[in-house]
């Protein structure tokens, strides 16, 4: 007279995996939303310097990037080892910066143009001479809001 039947067999019951797809989908959507695909392939070395007083760049569509650094190893045979400027997917000369910035600015809608920021992503080994030249070009192109891209961290590493 057992009203409360003992479950037969001592083994643990199998856990239902029916909700596994839901969990995985949730993760999937999270990564889909947060993912930012690299738009450009880097042609230059780019290890950014450290700084503590940093501000986050918001509104990605208002930011224009300029990469500066030594060409990557596999390109050094063609372009040498001197630090170069990269705009979009190609090396550029100093004189092309103005044109590039103006084109980028025209692509932004008119109300937001004053908010455009140029992010200089320079390698920490680059000399200031080149960076200053870039800054002069930006001044001529009237792109006055700039941001030196850095990593967060202590400044006094091995100076």
């Amino acid at each position: 007279m057992s009203k409360f039947k003992k479950s037969t067999g001592g083994g643990t019951p199998a856990i239902s995996t029916a909700s596994l797809p839901d969990i995985v989908f949730m993760l999937l959507f999270f990564f889909m939303v947060t993912t930012v695909m690299r738009e450009v392939t880097l042609l230059v070395d780019n290890s950014k310097p450290f700084a503590t007083e940093i501000k986050k760049l918001e509104k990605k569509n208002l930011v224009t990037y300029i990469y500066v650094g030594k060409p990557k190893k596999n390109l050094q045979a063609q372009v040498g080892t001197e630090p170069r400027i990269q705009l979009n997917d190609a090396f550029a000369r100093l004189g092309e910066i103005q044109q590039y910035v103006i084109e980028e600015r025209n692509a932004i809608n008119e109300a937001e143009r004053p908010l455009m920021t140029v992010s200089i992503k320079a390698d920490e080994k680059v000399k200031m001479g080149l960076v200053s030249d870039i800054k002069q070009e930006l001044r001529k192109a009237e792109a006055l809001k700039i941001n030196y891209s850095t990593r967060k961290g202590e400044v006094f590493g091995e100076l």
Binding site: K56, L57, D123, M128, L159
Partner: protein, 188 residues
């Protein structure tokens, strides 16, 4: 018609998880979490002709920082280490030489700046200075301003500068206006 009555066979959803996993792994690999961040500054507008009469600035209101090609610092005509730069800059900005600034806590040296409004940091670097050092110097100078603003915000409102409302933040900002002037690089 017997045909129409037949139920549609259920699609096996067992492999759904595999498909989702595949996509998940793809996004896991391609994702880059780093948020772009850095030190923001404003460049002065381009002026092809030099001003004929630049406004006179007293030498004592200028905090000169020179960086040479070997990444060595000369602050106010003296050798300095980059670790000391923040404190030197804070002392200079907060000096309150003419006593107009009632919130400053400086030592009121007659040889240093009159007030934070008049104090200007002048940065000059060599063409051979490394970008790393330049960023370090910029960082320390900005940090000096930020610390002063934070201290003032703490004293007046009991909050950090970042937490202030718009109006209060503006006041604190005007109390310590950030004036960092960069000269054209020379071959020092």
């Amino acid at each position: 018609m017997a045909r129409n009555k037949r139920a549609i066979p259920e699609i096996n959803a067992g492999s759904m998880a595999d498909i989702a996993f595949l996509l998940l792994i793809f996004f896991l690999v391609t994702t880059t979490m780093d948020v772009d961040s850095g030190i923001s500054t404003k460049l002065p507008p381009w002026e092809p002709e030099q001003l004929e009469n630049p406004p006179p600035i007293k030498q004592k209101n200028l905090f000169t920082v020179l960086v040479n090609a070997n990444d060595q610092l000369l602050v106010e005509d003296e050798y300095a280490e980059i670790e000391d730069l923040r404190d030197l800059a804070k002392k200079f900005l907060d000096n309150n030489g003419n006593g107009e600034c009632d919130y400053c806590q400086g030592i009121r040296s007659p040889l240093s700046s009159d007030s934070p409004q008049k104090a200007i940091v002048s940065l000059q670097n060599d063409r051979g200075t490394s970008y790393k050092t330049y960023i370090a110097v910029q960082n320390e100078l900005v940090a000096a301003y930020n610390e002063l603003r934070n201290e003032l915000a703490q004293r007046q409102y009991g909050k950090n500068f970042d937490e202030l409302g718009e109006e209060q933040a503006k006041q604190v900002q005007e109390a310590y206006p950030q004036k960092i002037s960069e000269a054209e690089p020379l071959n020092l």
